[in-house]
Symmetry: C2
Subunit: 340 residues, 2 copies
């Protein structure tokens, strides 16, 4: 059942039927009713390929997926996707993942824009002055950045959490509890979120005249193993930290293991706070010692990004507004006063 057939059986032109269905004003309300009714009854759905050729609209949002044998997709991605998908579903949007060589994503961005394959894209895990952001900005396709990319001379729309504030608060609490030697096990410090977290922590320490020594900062990809290694490195120093802030729940699994291996205890010897993106399959309250966290649901962020993308596609949202969500600091058993 296509437009031609439908209009034929209604004894109307394709023009009128098309307009009736798409809500144009120049069609009699009575006629529109007839058309809409008939369309529903016969299960008519406009062919997206045809519509897309005619209008350029695809009803899809895009994401360039870095791939490669040595490239690992962050497990946070599924949670983000859950939120994004949940919203997208309610708006009949599909998501197209365009795999790209991790070292040459530009080609892929250019392709999907030139080919009009999607109506909008989002960018995740941005770095300062991220080239992807600059690129999509000049290419002129609607986009939202999940996270932030500092250091541009233009504004762009983003949705981010207050990473700096979160780690500022976490560090402030630890200092108030008497800790003087804090350490940070961070994610890849080429990414903005990691930079912001470190900055927040330093700011809190500075406020009390403390500093974050170079030997007290680690920057690694967020695996359990790296958490373990980082923790061992930190704790086996001559002046080990008495408190650690950690950028991910997965890494903190490794931290806990290291602490145990060294015969230390949490929170007796070490206080620990980690950032929690809220996974359904790993919860900080279920750690052997319930883990204190800075918490922000990445799933909600996914839904929000989808919502904003949809709004930008339909022209409801414009401009370069960035939004920063606050982060909860949830205190559980893994923090205590500094050991004497």
């Amino acid at each position: 059942m296509n437009l031609k057939q439908l209009s034929h059986m209604l004894a109307l032109s394709q023009t009128t039927v098309s307009r009736a269905l798409n809500g144009y004003p120049e069609v009699n309300e009575e006629t529109r009713r007839r058309v809409v009714d008939a369309a529903k009854r016969h299960g008519y759905r406009p062919n997206p390929s045809a519509r897309r050729l005619a209008t350029g609209k695809t009803g899809m949002i895009g994401y360039v997926l870095p791939t490669g044998a040595s490239v690992d997709i962050d497990p946070h991605f599924v949670e983000f996707l859950s939120g994004l998908g949940d919203y997208a579903r309610s708006h009949e949007l599909d998501l197209v993942l365009s795999p790209a060589d991790a070292d040459d994503q530009e080609t892929t961005y250019r392709r999907i824009v030139a080919n009009r394959q999607v109506d909008a894209v989002y960018i995740s895990s941005p770095r300062p002055a991220d080239r992807r952001v600059a690129l999509v900005n000049t290419l002129g396709i609607p986009f939202i950045v999940h996270g932030r990319s500092d250091g541009f001379d233009f504004d762009y729309p983003f949705t981010d959490i207050d990473n700096e504030g979160a780690f500022h608060e976490a560090a402030r609490l630890l200092v108030q509890l008497g800790h003087r030697r804090l350490a940070l096990i961070n994610g890849d410090d080429r990414e903005t979120f990691a930079i912001h977290r470190e900055r927040g922590m330093r700011r809190a320490l500075a406020a009390s005249g403390l500093t974050l020594g170079e030997r007290h900062v680690c920057s690694v990809t967020m695996t359990e193993e790296n958490g373990y290694r980082a923790a061992r490195r930190l704790l086996e120093q001559s002046e080990p930290p008495t408190a650690i802030a950690c950028s991910s729940l997965i890494m903190s699994l490794g931290v806990v293991r290291a602490v145990r291996d060294l015969g230390l205890t949490i929170p007796g010897d070490l206080s620990l706070i980690a950032h929690d993106d809220v996974f359904p399959w790993l919860k900080p309250e279920n750690f052997s010692v319930p883990l204190s966290t800075t918490r922000s649901s990445i799933r909600l962020a996914g839904a929000r990004v989808a919502e904003r993308l949809a709004a930008r596609i339909s022209g409801l949202e414009e401009g370069a507004r960035g939004e920063v969500w606050p982060v909860d600091l949830v205190v559980r058993g893994s923090v205590a006063g500094a050991p004497v």
Copy 2:
């Protein structure tokens, strides 16, 4: 730069240019060279929307993504996606995720097929007599099932691992080590993989005249917390198991925690074997007691599924061949002889 312009500047018809580019035989090799050359020089890329309207081919593979507030996407998904994406990239295929109400995926499948939105689809986490498999089979779109769906009177193409064999071997080893009370912490037993694993284990036990008591089987969604709960339930029984097979690394985190909470040790009091889908961010060899596993890279499976989908799209693969991959049994410190 579109076909019209290109053919104009070559003083050829659109027909000839199109055919030259698409490798049709009825064009002079010299002419083809000229055309291909000019196309490359001017960066001509056929408009996919137009091509798609004309041919029905989309260059995309589809996946219906179950979503909803209470639906969690399995973290295995990213790893599968890594493999799929890596292969898809090399063949210029994109992946479109169509979010669907988890309770009504049929509508979405029908839509993407009716609209010709993708050239092929894959199905994951199938259950016995899975309706999705029956549906796509009748809809006639090329597909591959990742996993298996038993109980149909027709054949279909799938790529699966030997779950039954894996857990058979694992249980057999445990029995040989003297264990007599084994337990299984399984995934959702409505899914085929879980059924196969249980079957494998039962078969191994039966071979030695043993059985898997009802109180020694758990079937839960694979979270750390559920692993913990299941383990506690098992180990606090009057006749606790001396060995546990566990369907996921994430659950086994919970098992290890439970064992510790109960003051028991691995492998002294309990031997543990888990299935490992090979995550980059959580490795069995790094468990406090290195974990024995049945191992199969889900990333490789993703790549294989993509490869087969591509082959089916291009007509290179036909028929309903199912393939079953063997699973490695990797023995590490978490297994030992049964306690006396």
